[in-house]
Amino acid sequence: MAHLSSSPTFAKQDFAEELSRRHRTARTMAVIFQASTIVGIIVLLTLMYNIINSSFGLVAWQYRVPPETLAAGAPLEELPREELLRILEERVSANVLRRLDREKPLTARSEQELYALVMERVVQPKIVKTWSLVDSIFRRQEIIQEVARDYPDAYLRFRSWLNARFLTSPQSSRPELAGVRTAILGSLWTVLITIIFAFPLGVGAAIYLEEYASDNWLNRIIQTNINNLAGVPSIIYGMLGLAIFVRAMEPITSGIWFGAAEPATANGRTVLSAGLTLGLLVLPLIIINAQEAIRAVPNSLRQASYGLGATKWQTIWYHVLPNALPGILTGTILSISRAIGETAPLVVVGASTFITIDPSGPFSKFTTLPIQIYQWTSRPQDEFRNLAAAASIVLMILLLSLNASAVLLRQRARRRIRG
């Protein structure tokens, strides 16, 4: 230090001034970085506030037929089977009854099933108005007055739109009955196909590009193209998927070739087409991330392996891949998260907007959570907004749990390497 301040180019005064200016820059930068983090957190909190605000709150229920009038004052839940059957016969049209009887003979149904049927077909509780969580808490008195004035025979309940029934019910045109089971299963099936398709293919391509491909113009072009593909808008992939999987490969994606579907009714708008389309979408991401991870494996390990008389494949299989695995998994997690949240390409590929049958395999019709949310938000009734918000929470929980399990998997892989 002494020789610095005594040298002519580092006059002591200048140095002190210079130093305080450098510290000032450092502080300014720190504030800027902190601010950008805070903006990000605020945005996230706003999103959470919005979703949670709509997912819970007061609702005003109204019965089409008040239950008291059905059983002359006795509570509906306690009525015997015969009474419930009598109510159904009186109140429900013969046509509908015949249909229900075909599904499962009415006389064979349990008391609870009959009660549910009476509620659904006769009493028909209906939500007439909903309020947000914040309103429900802070404007409770006003809401009570409003209900008393506008809906005299309605009653007010606090409702969590996100509930067990919501998770286990299929789609319905009545918001109080609608659920996301079909959409959750659709999302899971689609992502499963995406992983099965894109993971081996992506990792394989990455191994080829990193370990086998020589550095020539053809491989450089391939590499550049893969990098560019990662930035192509997802709707383009949707159109690609529509052309290839839904149309050109229809006999395969519809399952006709495998005898899994009726040739007369089947088409290519299936889970398989959607999964393959999303697979194409995330393939470049998986390849690039896996390449990055493979490149990060120190060359000294490869040399050690070759030096022991290992072949190229033994080197890759026993040393390169295990060491690259945590990185490859991280990239795959990010890609799969993207696939789960993707909506646009699935609209093009032909996700069903209204479907009540669970997907049962790769050749099923399907919908996914983002499609469901998109569809609900575009409905005019308020209640569907609440459903969309609740479905958003489900989607986020699904994403988080998939990510968490993948992170655990990665940690395990990392521990195994470090020994």
Binding site: S214, D215, P298, S300, L301, R302, Q303, A304, S305, Y306, G307, L308, G309, A310, T311, Q314, Y318, H319, N323, I417, R418, G419
Partner: protein
């Protein structure tokens, strides 16, 4: 000439020295190119069996390149190309019919920085034998290799711990154990002690002297005292004005260090340059 059969790995025993030829390995008119530019040129070097041969010379003279030419490790560098011959058991290892994997199986290598696999100590030693089709008692093999590498007493209670938990010197001896576990004829060592402290270095040197009873060892070193201490033969390389390495003098270490024939060797070992 059935090259493949000649290179079948034989599990050699001490009493049965490897076949044909007076020398362990011999470079003839060897030139190694990187991007069509020679790194070392016209090397003629015959390595004695079961002796330690040191390759010394100033930085950038191609010592490591020459060493790696002896087991075709330069093949892994895409732009590298070799001219001339390297004879091992009477066969040119650069013959197109020779599989480099078999060459490396017979001519092992220890690198400058300790590079154990991120696995257990046991696995580090066992892996090479296993992939080369060893079917015997693996525990015995691991113990023997670790004993030969003078590491057994230090690690026998923690064989299944990560190799990365060892110190640098221990890691390097583990790498030597790993190399000798597959019973090569020749062990190439590329500055094996340059990343180690003096005590660890001493252990490695003692180990090399022990190993020379069974193995032919070629060592590249920057450290002339090390070459003088451990080696039986010394090859001195220099760079010419085009930055191409060439062999100046090769002979018994005692002669090179006490009575060099070439003025350049004398200048180098007396510390006048380099």
């Amino acid at each position: 000439m059935d090259v493949k059969i000649a290179f079948q790995p034989s599990m050699r025993t001490e009493s049965m020295p490897a076949s044909a030829g007076k020398y362990a390995i011999e470079a003839r008119n060897l030139t190694v190119y990187y991007h069509d530019r020679p790194a070392v040129r016209d090397i003629n070097l015959a390595i004695e069996r079961q002796r330690i041969t040191a390759i010394i010379g100033p930085s950038g003279c191609g010592k490591s390149t020459l060493l790696r030419a002896f087991n075709r490790m330069n093949d892994l560098i895409p732009c590298a190309r070799v001219e001339g011959e390297v004879l091992f058991e009477g066969i040119n290892i650069y013959d197109p019919a020779v599989d480099p994997v078999l060459v490396r199986r017979r001519i092992g290598m220890v690198f400058q920085r300790p590079n154990p696999f991120p696995k257990s100590i046991y696995e580090n030693v066992a892996w090479g034998a296993r992939i080369n089709g060893y079917r015997g008692n693996m525990d015995e093999l691991v113990e023997r290799a670790l004993r030969q590498a003078a590491l057994w007493d230090e690690v026998k209670d923690k064989l299944h711990q990560s190799a990365l938990s060892l110190s640098g010197g221990q890691q390097q001896r583990l790498c030597i154990a790993r190399a000798i576990a597959i019973k090569p004829e020749i062990i190439l060592m590329d500055e094996p002690a340059s990343a180690l402290d003096p005590i660890a270095t001493l252990k490695i040197e003692e180990l090399m002297i022990d190993l020379a009873e069974q193995y032919t060892i070629i060592i590249v070193t920057h450290n002339m005292q090390q070459a003088a201490r451990v080696s039986h033969y010394t090859a001195f390389l220099m760079v010419d004005e085009n930055r191409v390495g060439y062999l100046v003098e090769y002979g018994p270490t005692a002669q090179i260090f006490t009575n060099p024939r070439d003025k350049r060797t004398e200048d180098y070992i007396t510390g006048r340059f380099g």
